[in-house]
Point group: C2
């Protein structure tokens, strides 16, 4: 008899999450009440933002409570429906968390088409990663032809899409990533104009080499020293989109701030943060563009799929070591 | 026989400018060529931005060269005119530098009316300080009624005006300034709602006390720790206008950056720098508003006027010690 397996937050991590910060528990598969559906989770999206949700700190979403199933984006299949909007057999994307089976009242759940693109694409380019890149680049930065766009975390799920959208808008795109394989992927497969391998090249020197005319747009997933070095090279009226700051998520002491920030004054530049969920009412605006680009091969993605819910604690850490090559996904179910 | 006295940059300062960084020299009063006017400088504006112009660093204006008359905003009187746009006796505002007499070809020079407001007002509320406050607050921050606006360097020439414009737009205005006298002035004479005396109160505690509902807008003249503390208290969609960073202008090592900058992401907030000269084509838009507010007593200013061009090196330093009470001006001529 099948049972549900769930990963719950057991303790608030200090620095990098430990195995003891998680509790993997077994429970029976629940039955849907009236208005609910039972979902078998097939794929779980593993994202840097999850680290922030583990902290007991006021933020854009409430923290995950101790003892609560870890929050995560998911794609799954409806097994039983007592909600008129869904039928058994429907594929659905939502935020069902790190568990094998979940109930939903239908809020935040939408049907996806497994024939159009692979199901995992709804966790990436046709999901939160795609929307994040789309609005974080286009809405915050308004890229124009021939501008130089720098993307940090460029081989990550969001960065890779942001860079490709930049190319589609006519920008010269420079990607910062860790290791020669990721850089090769960016330039050879995704068409980035230049790359900086921060593990093997000084970022300041790399920016000088790849951005001789300065930086017009910076799409930042990393923060820390990389942000600081880019600030020293921005142009007049540059725009910096703060998407994330993965270099700081596990910091155990107050990180250094970007000491070059006053370059924003000299260059009349802006640095603006955003959270993709604020654009929820505009996802419909992005979907046709993203779908078209994906189907025409203008936005390519790659996925790093790991198996087994019990491996979640280790798989999650790959985000911070940079071991993953592409969008990190945990497969937890088979149809 | 009268002669011209000039203050020239003799050396690039390291940290706080020393007397030896200046050379005070005597020369004959020049004669205007065709198209030129000879101006007797009456008042010189002493501004924090001048410190930046002394560094040999690419910025929004070229550095003042060694041996060159120090750049400064001025108000003066035309003595002789060979330019059809000006007549002897006209009062003019421009950038004639730290000297008693100057030639001008008329570029960047405009007539001012000494009967409307005192001449020194054209160096303050009806000059660069007024334009800086006007555009830096209204254009960058778009203040709305009942928002909480925090101003640092609030008793300075720009900060005091920014705070008063904030009040005129219906904001709750909190001023950060150094010392009880400046704070008393802000609350009792300028109508600020709250003040924080950073010399006698911890800024974090002061922000908590005066901004229980957070900060919607921050107009920053100071940078450093004050900026960092405000970042920790900003609200959703907050706007930070970076006007200056006086705490850093004499730094001899790389200053600390604002380690709380990722609060911009969580709060979808922006931090944007500006330079008033970019708004030159829109000064005409600000002047009627500023004039009206000044004449109606809705914008009040105070001036700290020192005497004698030879005192320039000491007077300039008052900006950084915060000794000046109000807009710092050096009177160098008498009609």
């Amino acid at each position: 008899m099948a049972s549900n397996r769930q990963v719950k937050l057991a303790a608030r991590p200090f620095g990098l999450p430990q195995h003891s910060d998680w509790e993997i528990s077994e429970t029976s598969i629940p039955s849907p009440a009236d208005g609910e559906v039972l979902i078998q989770v097939l794929y779980i999206s593993i994202d840097p933002a999850m680290r922030g949700w583990m902290n007991d700190r006021k933020s854009y979403l409430p923290p995950v409570a101790i003892g609560e199933v870890m929050r995560a984006g998911t794609v799954g299949k409806v097994l039983t429906s007592r909600n008129p909007k869904f039928r058994a057999g429907d594929y659905v994307a939502g935020s069902q968390g790190v568990q094998k089976y979940a109930l939903s009242d239908g809020r935040g759940l939408h049907k996806v088409d497994a024939k159009l693109v692979p199901l995992t694409t709804y966790l990436g380019a046709l999901g939160i990663a795609g929307f994040t890149a789309y609005f974080g680049l286009l809405d915050i930065c308004n890229p124009r032809e021939n501008e130089t766009l720098v993307v940090s975390g460029a081989a990550g799920s969001v960065g890779a899409i942001a860079g490709q959208i930049g190319k589609l808008k006519g920008c010269r795109v420079v990607g910062i990533a860790g290791g020669p394989e990721k850089c090769r992927y960016l330039s050879e497969e995704l068409g980035f104009d230049e790359t900086i391998d921060y593990k093997n090249e000084n970022v300041r020197a790399g920016l000088k080499r790849t951005c001789p005319d300065g930086v017009d747009i910076f799409f930042d997933n990393v923060g820390g020293d990389i942000l600081n070095e880019v600030l020293a090279r921005i142009n007049f009226k540059a725009r910096i989109s703060l998407c994330g700051a993965i270099s700081q998520y596990n910091a155990t002491e107050m990180p250094k701030g970007p000491s070059n920030y006053s370059s924003l004054i000299t260059n009349r530049a802006k640095m603006e943060g955003f959270i993709v969920f604020d654009y929820a009412s505009r996802y419909l605006e992005a979907i046709p563009h993203l779908t078209g680009w994906i189907l025409q091969g203008k936005i390519k993605t790659r996925e790093h799929i790991e198996q087994g819910i019990e491996n979640f604690p280790e798989v999650f850490l790959k985000l911070f070591s940079g071991e993953n090559q592409g969008k990190l996904i945990l497969k937890v179910g088979t149809e």
